[in-house]
Symmetry: C4
Subunit: 265 residues, 4 copies
């Protein structure tokens, strides 16, 4: 991964010093802005929570908004960060104190190209009870959805993942999974691409609602089997036009533009 | 039914080769587009799920959108399919992989003229527990609402009804009922007409909510009796202007046009 | 009451034959149209359910829309009915088959000047379980909220109150209360005025939600005491500008006009 | 506090007699109008409930709307009250009968500069059961969330805090906490500033939802520890741009202006 990054860097020249962004970078930024708006419109984030994407030319960087409510984010809010959570280009504007969730996950997981941190409302109750968040329909919950507790790693804190050490501990709990819960706080969702992470964040909340309701009905629950989940994930990974996340993105994009500012830039 | 179809075919000439659609066909297409939008606005489908109508002139064909989020469907998205799920007119656009839900139900049930497949959110929990989805108000739940499980018919799958064999197995479980659940996935609702299937899909979700809440209150539940259901269905089947589905359609149509694109074509 | 009605009738001349409506009648019609829209916007009615007002000059008549979804009702939809549910002025348009809910309540309860029948969603579960709908905040639930079951009065029916006999039985169960539930169907709410019946119908649903949630928390519940309820009802009956239903009406009216057609006529 | 108030009064001259309001006062009034709209749009208040702010120049006065639904409040609705709940400037318009909630809290708690009284829907169930409203994420719930019952202080009442004596009793139950529940009625939330009280009122409801759902999942619940809460409150009190309530205010303000009248004055 580092090698490929080097290759890209030499081919594209440095974007440091705010060189003109490539069409590819512009497309990622547009999707990132839309991702912010979509997660807000779909009630996964409220004024808090954030979404990032690994830089398309520099795998050791990621793109994320300045500290702002996701529903209000525009392209000029997007900043570049390094894998220690540091700003690449000097900027006076406030930045998310929990950027270390993102930086440490990108560092630990070369396969991850997009990260969402949210307080997705129906997921939080699973983080404070002993009921595991298991899949009714969300195939990407396998192998498992672990729960991270700052208390275990660092004792009494303000629960924010506001330094590298807490970010590392969270990334370690996440392991090779797609979702980890954060006790009394929220969750982190990761994916190989931005559109997939938006999809997963939304269906993490949806699956939590299904499971909560199944629990209310009572009795044994038939969960999605790992064998079924593997076949579903294989299908999803095909990324065919009109199917999977391509279909949801078209709908969510339209809803986001209708219900937030229609201007991305 | 095949006979009647033949009669219709000879009377109307073939629409293959995209002959000019009749006024009747256009009316069905408009209703089908509205049905897509209504199910989306009423939260029965999200970006997934689909609705189809049997072709008014060719009972061995059905009409359904290309693979697209129902909330975005317009008339030009509507395609014709045969009862093996094959496209009648060559078309490069993506098609729903689960069209076999529709084709096999139309094949097995000549009385059915419209089919909805959805992931209607409060219905799914009933598909993974042992609590039967019984009628509080939904008279069309009789004789029963069976649960189909791909696992029983086909072992480990990705849960999609993406071939004729799975479609047949689902249609067999559905039997002569109006609704069947699909474990961990969704449901299928059928009816003698498009407006009725929209009505049934919406009130399937509504009844699931009522039953979930009654279960939460606890204690014995007084269900709708089969004798009462039969009288209610008889009343509904009269289809008088201003009553039954005629009344709901006027309201849902207005809501759909207000909350999605006002253009059907 | 009959006496006062007679006095009014002689003073105003007959409105039969569609004489020009008085300003007072027009005001009631406007409020009735708004009441329809408000109940729809506040999710008490969907496409079904209806609201009526006793005629301001003829206490032996009531005003109600033709058979139509409440969210779409305009002034020209309002018709006059007699206390046997008969149309006062010949009209070809479809009428609500359950108008007998209204006619029989007006007949039995001279104090009642407005009636709502709805399928208010959180109230229905209380109609099919043995959990009584008791007041957390809804003072008008006293003396009690009885449950009417068509099965007890009339055996197997389609559950609709579509004749005088069923209307009478329902009115008898209602007695001197403000709310009665209808098993597996909905509820009827009555009040001394139209704005109060809208208020009561909305807070009947709200109280049902509070009670359902309190039940989910578990343990003993502190209900509103009858002594407290009596003092609350006394306060509400003062009808001071800016207080009680006057305050809610201003808000609900604005919401209704923003979310349905802004034209009442 | 009284001393500082005296100093301010002499410096600014009296605003009695409706002297031209200072820029600071105008800013508080604008925020107060926005606070009304925000609480309505965020579903903390419906047509009832109110929010007040201590007067920026006269600590022995507070600002609050005339008796009106919060979603409709504009700047000209804002009135000045003294700490006995009396109007400072003669005004014929109706005033909230429960203004004593505010006046007695301002009297008892010099640290409080803003008060919300609401019937926030998920909070009420905790007021009528024996389940304490404990923090999942709401750090400001410490030391505790006490429950006030008019029945204990004053026997049978209409539940309204409509005189000084009931206001005092409520303020006494509130003590040094940020939130107190009012049995069968609602809650009161206080804070050192208007933006913080809006934040707390919204997250009081949010935490109640999380706790209700955690209770529904069952089993032991890991609550926020007092040590964690103290660190979170310390972080929140920094009031840095782009963080904490500054971030939420920007979002909520935009939502409020989009969904209510865009005119504050």
């Amino acid at each position: 991964m580092a090698k490929k990054a080097g290759a890209l860097r030499s081919r594209k020249k440095s974007v440091a010093g705010k060189a003109r962004p490539s069409a590819e970078l512009n497309a990622v930024i547009d999707d990132l802005v839309l991702g912010n708006r979509i997660l807000y419109v779909q009630d996964v984030v409220d004024s808090y929570g954030h979404i990032s994407a690994r830089h398309p030319h520099h795998p050791d960087r990621f793109l994320m908004s300045r500290a702002r409510a996701p529903g209000l984010v525009v392209a000029s809010d997007i900043m570049e960060f390094g894998l220690d959570g540091e700003l690449i280009h000097a900027d006076e504007r406030p930045i998310y104190s929990e950027r270390f969730i993102h930086s440490e996950v990108y560092k630990a997981r070369p396969d991850v190209h997009a990260v969402v941190h949210s307080h997705s409302p129906t997921v939080v109750p699973f983080s404070v009870t002993q009921v595991p968040l298991r899949p009714i329909r969300a195939a990407f919950f396998y192998p498992e959805v672990p729960v991270f507790d700052t208390r275990t790693s660092a004792g009494w804190t303000n629960l924010l993942i506001s330094n590298r050490s807490l970010g590392q501990a969270l990334a370690q709990t996440l392991g090779q999974n797609a979702v980890a819960l954060m006790r009394g706080h929220g969750n982190v969702v990761v994916a190989p691409s931005l559109r997939v992470v938006v999809y997963r964040a939304i269906y993490t909340e949806a699956n939590a609602k299904l499971l909560l309701q199944a629990k209310m009905l009572g009795g044994p629950i038939t969960y999605l089997a790992p064998e079924e989940a593997a076949l579903m994930e294989k299908e999803q990974s095909k990324q065919r036009p009109g199917h999977g996340h391509d279909r949801t993105w078209e709908m969510w994009k339209q809803e986001a533009l209708a219900r937030t500012s229609s201007k991305l830039r």
